[in-house]
Amino acid sequence: MGLRFTWVVTTLSLSLLSFAFGSEGFVELDSKFLHVNPRVIRAKQDRPHAVWAKMHTRDIKRVSAILKQALADQKDISVEIESFYRETGEVRLIIRNQSRESKESATLRIEEALKKNKNISLVGRRRIFRITEMRNEEHRKNSSKVAE
């Protein structure tokens, strides 16, 4: 969806520029335009949200299996395990919404699905911030998204 939306915006932008300069005119892409728009698109389309849950297992191999089972029916949403604390069984899930659905709605959908699984208790949305240091992995991830 993100790819399609970006493509539509870019195509539309190029069309408008072509129109503005005429079909045979020199088209100079505005670097500011290209710079700002992917950032705006990304902010709207790909903002992750987080949910804390407590897994009734401390076996890390079972965590993925339980989550996969609990979220088997959810469409257009991917859930990643950001951290799992073996001592407490707490898991922080990062939810990425690939649909046009709002993040609040998508998060509620995930929470409802998790609640139905007897191996999971929701802890809530205890907020965890992160240090704002870029890491190579994050940078690669962000760059690829912006370039999509």
Binding site: V36, A43, R126, I131, T132, E133, M134, H139, N142
Partner: protein, 510 residues
């Protein structure tokens, strides 16, 4: 150190002989006793004290200062520091003893690092023993033996750094100048209050951060550095807004990173708090780092990444913790080219401490200033990204120390305290705060913001209200008369003093 009195009164010696003080001592006597005399100093590890004034040589001989190519890059090693120009202000002088304390809420700080040793804040109201604690909460603040800060993650009084991030931040702010080692901080004469709120993997609980913000303020920190954050999901952002407003009104400036998610900083907490000072990151070639959050809420920008083949790369050198990587190499990669005592990082985490250091520097020149005035001084003197007043990527521009120091004494403080961001109606109550030492003429405008606008002239748009004040004043306007057309508007508060203009802005929709 820290203004400890030379002499202890005789009565204090009589009534306060033991480490656990008798109830007969008054609280004032207890404080004086705890912070006085050689017996106290002898019980502190040497790392925590030094002389009360600091001589910084004119020719800074720190290894990476003014040198280049430490990691085969073409620009200066400490380029972001040199860009701000702080060293030009303080090298070759003896700095005053009214030391500003900067709290670093982070992964902890390596207090023994060769470039930070002796520069830590010490709680004068807490008695340590030879083993760094006496198991008594001497100052009754709820934290036992918090004589150099606190660790909320492990609930201990040892805020050491098991990641490396907090030490890097602290080094950018306060690394010792002229010691022939490593780097020099933007404000090498300040004290660092290390408050560990983030674990070894860089995760930081919001409730810990709020507690630590209040702790820093109650213990005398003038500046709080928050090189952390996350997307705002509502209630949490409001809670941060409340705490940051509280400490701001109590004399502490909160400097926050804008974030690395390439998203609108208005939706990123705690950078979007009304009283916080969000900092973007730009590259060594002057362009904005691609990851840096953007938007009209941005205040200012400082160096936060390098450039190589058009990509953002690690180019911010600072101190590294000796525990870096002890809990997993993935959290702290050591670059062999510059050894283990220093590291290269990048992010808005790295640009933020440059501004914290600059704020502390300005504050040392004008100790009577309020947080708002310090913030205004830094914004006013930033080097604009272009001819426009405000830019969606750089805020008011790239910070500059020399000009900030020049006007440190006369800057007014101006702030739109409500509305902040979001949808409003025409009947919205508008609140301003203006702190002036001489007559200040102010005006309020609404500037239409079109989608995709990158820069704005803040003196354009519809005039809403004007006025003049000559002292600290709260101005409440019962209605905000926005132009009739629906859309996004930047509310611009402009104040003029001695021919200089100062701005504050808030983005609203109707």
């Amino acid at each position: 150190m820290m203004g400890f009195p030379i002499k202890a009164k005789a009565s204090l010696v009589i009534c306060c002989t033991f480490a656990v003080l008798s109830a007969a001592c008054s609280s004032q006597e207890r404080v004086e006793k705890l912070s006085s005399g050689p017996s106290f100093r002898n019980k502190l590890p040497p790392a925590y004290y030094t002389q009360s004034t600091l001589d910084i040589p004119a020719n800074l001989n720190d290894r990476y200062f003014a040198d280049k190519g430490a990691w085969s890059q073409v620009y200066t090693d400490l380029w972001a520091h040199l860009e701000i120009g702080a060293a030009a202000l303080y090298s070759g002088i003896t700095l005053p003893s009214n030391e500003i304390v900067v709290a670093v809420l982070d992964t902890g700080v390596d207090t023994d690092h060769e470039d930070l040793v002796g520069r830590m804040w010490v709680n004068p109201r807490e008695i340590p023993s030879d083993r760094y604690n006496n198991s008594v909460d001497d100052d009754q603040n709820g934290f036992v033996d918090d004589f150099v800060g606190w660790d909320w993650v492990n609930n201990t009084n040892n805020p050491s750094d098991d990641n490396g991030h907090g030490t890097h931040v602290a080094g950018t702010i306060a690394a010792i100048g002229g010691n022939g080692k490593g780097i020099v901080g933007v404000a090498p004469f300040v004290r660092i209050m290390p408050l560990k709120v983030c674990s070894y993997d860089g995760a930081c609980e919001s409730s810990d951060i709020r507690d630590a913000i209040l702790y820093a303020n109650r213990n005398g920190a003038k500046v709080i550095n928050l090189s952390l954050g996350g997307p705002d999901d509502g209630p949490e952002g409001q809670a941060f807004n409340s705490v940051i407003e509280q400490v701001s009104k109590a004399g502490t400036l909160v400097v926050t990173s804008a974030g690395n998610d390439a998203m609108d900083v208005g939706e990123y907490s705690p950078a979007n708090s009304t009283y916080a000072m969000p900092v973007a990151a730009h590259r060594s070639d002057g362009r904005i780092c691609g990851f840096s959050n953007f938007g009209w809420k941005l205040d200012v920008s400082a160096g936060g990444c390098g450039e190589k083949n058009g990509q953002d790369v690690g180019a911010m050198i600072s101190a590294n913790s000796k525990k870096c990587g002890s809990l997993g190499d993935q959290y702290c990669a050591v670059r062999t080219a510059i050894g283990e005592k220093y590291s290269l990082k990048y992010g808005t985490s790295m640009s933020t401490p440059h501004i914290s250091g600059l704020a502390a520097l300005v504050w040392s020149l004008n100790p009577q200033a309020t947080p708002l005035q310090i913030r205004q001084t830094v914004l006013k003197t930033a080097v604009k990204a272009n001819a426009d007043n405000k830019n969606v990527d750089f805020g008011f521009g790239k910070a500059s120390a020399v000009d900030a120091a020049r006007i440190a004494l006369e800057a007014p403080g101006i702030k739109i305290t409500s509305p902040f961001h979001g949808a409003i109606s025409n009947q919205h109550l508008l609140k301003l705060r203006i702190e002036a030492q001489s007559p200040v003429a102010w005006e309020l405008r609404a500037v239409s913001v079109q989608d995709g606008d990158a820069n704005l002239q803040l003196t354009a748009g519809d005039l809403i209200a004007t006025g003049t004040v000559s002292a600290a004043t709260n101005v409440d306007l019962s209605e905000l008369y926005l132009p009739a057309q629906a859309g996004s508007y930047l509310i611009v508060l402009k104040a003029q003093v001695s021919g200089e203009s100062y701005f504050d802005t808030a983005l609203v929709r109707r």
